[in-house]
């Protein structure tokens, strides 16, 4: 049984750990990236069923990462959960334009994150 893969892109190691532990406990395979470029490279190398990314990523911010994904036909379908410390309406607009799955305030409580991951990877029965 192969579990769905989730890629966590967050500049804070603590935030990655917090989210990662919860997802691993729920049975997901979790990879982590600390900036946008690393996230992009990990996606190319390992693939993922869901990307959870922070907007404020170094090198390639979450919104640009999303846009880059949508411009590549291979990644146009990947559900992306964007989180921001301080969500803004302009960013919300951009995220929608590029087909975000959900744009939310960070941090997402663990049980909610797991529920979202189950829904967005299609693993929820």
């Amino acid at each position: 049984m192969t579990m769905p893969r989730v890629l966590l892109a967050d500049s804070s190691a603590l935030a990655r750990r917090y989210a990662g532990e919860a997802l691993v406990q729920a049975g997901f395979i979790v990879s982590e990236a600390y900036n946008g470029m690393e996230a992009w490279e990990k996606l190319m190398a390992e693939g993922a069923d869901l990307l959870v990314a922070e907007v404020d990523l170094a090198k390639l911010d979450g919104l640009r990462l999303l846009r880059q994904l949508r411009r590549d036909e291979a990644w146009q379908r990947l559900p992306v959960l964007l989180v921001a410390v301080a969500p803004g309406s302009h960013e919300q607009e951009l995220a929608r334009q590029w087909g975000v799955a959900l744009y939310r305030q960070k941090p997402i409580p663990r049980d909610e994150l797991v529920a979202l991951a189950l829904l967005l990877t299609g693993a929820a029965p």
């Binding site: 049984m1 192969t2 579990m3 804070s12 190691a13 603590l14 935030a15 750990r17 917090y18 990662g20 532990e21 691993v24 406990q25 729920a26 049975g27 997901f28 395979i29 979790v30 990879s31 846009r67 949508r70 411009r71 036909e73 146009q76 379908r77 990947l78 559900p79 992306v80 410390v85 301080a86 929608r96 334009q97 590029w98 087909g99 975000v100 799955a101 959900l102 744009y103 939310r104 960070k106 941090p107 409580p109 663990r110 049980d111 909610e112 797991v114 529920a115 979202l116 189950l118 829904l119 967005l120 990877t121 299609g122 929820a124 029965p125």
Partner: protein, 764 residues
């Protein structure tokens, strides 16, 4: 100490350092917005991190929040960055740093933390406006157990769990850190590890901190092996018998590694489901064109498909069908309607009771349109159309058969009966073809509908007042024509907006209403679709065009002067004319009119531009309703049949040799009071010239698209014929002068001429 807490301490220190440095900088330079933001962000992030450990860290959370609020006030200009403020903020940060240190030693906050925090918060609140701390406490972090393996990286544990089939299957976890000097004892860690029976997973971790390069001792082992095996514990332990003291073993089950997923809270799942669904609906409300589809349509398709697996698995197929349709037609409308219907959740019992009404391929259940619409793959229609076309050709064989019956078998009655039959089949085939073609027809309105937005946005950008009027949106044309039409139309409308219509001030100065009008109209004229784009702007001055044409060397000055105003204006379509930018504003047209013209010509259509300086410009596009079947005129030359597109044939006449007059290098003929140049098809095709006909000559008066009329001498004229034109491919594709080939009823291949190319090649 848990890894999470260790991580927290390291991160909190960094953030607090950043915060205090920023505050000191602000004291020097109070207005620095970037630094204010930086300090704000540091405290904000810290607050978020503390929140992970609530309620234990609540005193820290509150203090960080109070500091953040204060900085927010400074950021918004509500507070001044005073000396006192600096002191209070630094005091708060010092206290937070002290607590982080306490935590490192004692793993918890001192007993008086809540009191101290409350006091400091009160001081900070006095400085600014009070905002209550939102009571969102994330769940406490799961307590970590003491078993050593729980500290292993989660990804390693996940991988092991992944390899264990059953929930109760047992794995032996091994943590093997070879002695740094193991190589000197004759140990071979890699070999040892490779000998472990039933190896499930292996992970290499750096066991010791790596020394700097110059100090590296290559003979030291600095590795740590983490591995899992499905073999019994005793067997694994036996393998490591010689290095017992360097190994830790633990037995785990899949259940240990992946604690049974916490019971999913249906209410929480529902909240998340609704949140994502609401976001997707918001996305679908955005306008969408072809790029928008790629940017977000597919993502919405996938996201909703996954959501449906959770709550409405039975709707999955319907959704996929809608997505496929949306993708084809680049419209999000069907998806929007579907999600709208999902918005009102149906009680489960009712949902079960209702039998599924929709079937695959039908309209979604939410659309109340009568279910008489059949959605068919376009490829099938195209195939049907191609077959109908072949039938047209096959039916054309019957007259040949009748001829043979009469000539070869001497039976005139049989020939007549064959011809009668031909008449019946002809009628049926034509009807069939027309019906299939009808299926492919789309209203022009599908192209027009994007213009209200385009005109509104562009006119606003240009500070012009423009009213768009549209008429004849219901006029139909073939899907291929409609699809190719969009681009030239956008170009023409943009030109009217950019260069045709004047600013309100200029319009009023010219005695016109400030609001300009662009009128888009479509209508059908016999088998052509006519689209006009009309504006009441400044129009085109033929004098300017003449001057520019001469300056640019497009024509000799004398030739320019000889042009009528109408002809002069058409020069705007000449390649190279409108590409110069300074021309565009003078001419009232933009660049790329030649591109419009060639796009329209490629569809078999034509463009005419009419303009009155000061009053406006009208562009008229004439397009074939369909591009599937062509009607050609058959002519014979040197014993071979050629086809000439019938829409370019003006008339057929017979003239006597005596009516031909020499003119310049060539010949001319006067027909209906017009002097037409006379050309010989044999010469154009570079065939041997047949002996001059003594008596009358067969002449076609033709008007190749975008050119003047001329007379063409052919050996003999035949009839008109419907053919399905196939483009030439392979090495034939590069030969100019041929528009394509078609199969005739007698099995011969007919070459259809492209007169414009042919004449062009000849004149070179």
């Amino acid at each position: 100490m848990t890894p999470l807490l260790l991580q927290f301490i390291a991160e909190a220190r960094e953030l607090l350092d950043k915060g205090s440095q920023g505050i000191l900088r602000l004291e020097q330079n109070p207005g620095d917005a970037a630094t204010i933001h930086e300090v704000f962000r540091a405290l904000h992030t810290l607050k978020g991190s503390c929140g992970l450990f609530d309620p234990e860290f609540a005193p820290m959370t509150r203090l960080a929040h109070a500091g953040e609020d204060l900085l927010d006030g400074v950021r918004n200009g509500k507070l001044d960055f005073s000396r006192a403020l600096t002191d209070h903020l630094l005091a708060a940060i010092d206290r937070l740093q002290g607590w982080v240190n306490d935590m490192e030693v004692a793993e918890h906050l001192p007993a008086d933390a809540a009191e101290v925090s409350a006091a400091l918060v009160a001081v900070l609140r006095q400085q600014g406006q009070e905002t209550p701390l939102p009571e969102v406490a994330p769940p406490p972090v799961a307590a970590s157990a003491d078993a050593w393996w729980r500290e292993l990286p989660p990804e390693v544990l996940a991988r092991v769990a992944d390899r264990l089939a059953a929930p109760d299957a047992v794995a032996v976890l091994v943590d093997y850190t070879p002695d740094p000097n193991c190589f000197f004892f004759g140990e071979d860690p890699l070999h040892l590890v490779s000998q472990v029976p039933g190896l499930l997973a292996l992970s290499l971790a750096g066991g010791l901190p790596w020394p700097l390069a110059p100090d590296t001792d290559p003979f030291q082992c600095a590795l740590r092996f983490l591995l899992a095996s499905s073999a019994p514990r005793a067997e694994v332990a036996a393998r490591f018998g010689y290095v017992e003291n360097q190994v830790r073993l633990a037995e785990v089950t899949r259940g240990d590694l992946v604690p049974a997923a916490p019971p999913r809270d249906p209410a929480l799942m529902a909240v998340c489901f609704d949140a994502v669904l609401a976001e997707q609906r918001a996305i679908l409300r955005l306008p969408c064109d072809a790029t928008g589809w790629g940017e977000r349509g597919r993502a919405v398709g996938e996201t909703v498909a996954r959501l449906l697996r959770h709550r409405h698995p039975e709707q999955g197929t319907t959704w996929q069908t809608l997505c496929a349709r949306a993708e084809r037609e680049h419209t999000l409308e069907p998806l929007r309607a579907f999600l709208h219907a999902l918005a009102a959740p149906v009680p489960v019992a009712e949902e079960r009771a209702a039998p599924p009404v929709e079937t695959k391929g039908s309209a979604p259940p939410t659309e109340h349109a009568p279910a008489r619409v059949l959605k068919v793959d376009q490829a099938r229609i195209d195939h049907l159309l191609a077959l109908a076309g072949e039938l047209v050709v096959a039916k054309n064989a019957l007259p040949y058969l009748a001829q043979a019956a009469e000539r070869e078998f001497g039976s005139r009655p049989l020939a007549r009966r064959i011809l009668d039959n031909h008449g019946v089949i002809n009628r049926l085939v034509e009807e069939l073809q027309a019906t299939v073609m009808q299926v492919r027809m789309l209203p022009v309105g599908t192209v027009f509908q994007r213009f209200p937005r385009l005109v509104r946005d562009t006119s606003r950008k240009l500070d012009k007042q423009v009213r768009l009027e549209m008429a004849g949106e219901e006029t139909e044309a073939d899907k291929n024509v409609i699809e190719l039409l969009a681009e030239p139309l956008i170009h023409l409308v943009r030109n009217s907006l950019d260069h045709g219509l004047e600013t309100p001030a200029a319009r009023q100065a010219a005695g016109k209403p400030g609001e300009g009008v662009i009128r888009l109209a479509a209508s059908q004229e016999s088998d052509r679709v006519v689209i006009t784009i009309q504006d009441d702007g400044k129009g085109i001055d033929p004098g300017v065009i003449r001057r520019k044409a001469a300056e640019k060397g497009l024509l000799e000055p004398a030739a320019v002067a000889a042009l009528s105003d109408h002809e002069a204006i058409q020069l705007i379509f000449a390649p190279g004319f409108s590409t110069a930018e300074q021309v565009s504003d003078l001419s009232g047209r933009g660049v790329g009119m030649d591109a419009v013209k060639s796009a329209v010509a490629a569809m078999g259509g034509s463009v005419i531009l009419e303009s009155v300086a000061g009053q406006g410009t009208t562009v008229r596009l004439e397009l074939p309703m369909t591009m599937a079947v062509n009607r050609v005129m058959l002519v014979e030359q040197n014993g071979v049949h050629y086809g000439i597109p019938l829409e370019q044939v003006v008339e057929t006449v017979r003239i006597s040799r005596g009516e031909v007059h020499p003119m310049g290098d060539g010949e001319a003929v006067v027909l209906r009071d017009k002097v037409l140049p006379l050309l010989h098809l044999a010469r154009l095709l570079q065939l041997d010239h047949p002996p001059e006909a003594r008596g009358e000559m067969a002449v076609l008066v033709v008007r190749p698209s975008g050119m003047a009329e001329l007379a063409l001498v052919v050996e003999s004229l035949d009839k008109g014929l419907d053919v399905v034109l196939k483009p030439l491919d392979g090495i034939l594709a590069g030969i100019p002068g041929y528009g394509g080939a078609a199969l005739l009823g007698n099995g011969k291949v007919l070459l259809v001429l492209n007169l414009k190319e042919l004449l062009h090649a000849h004149s070179l």
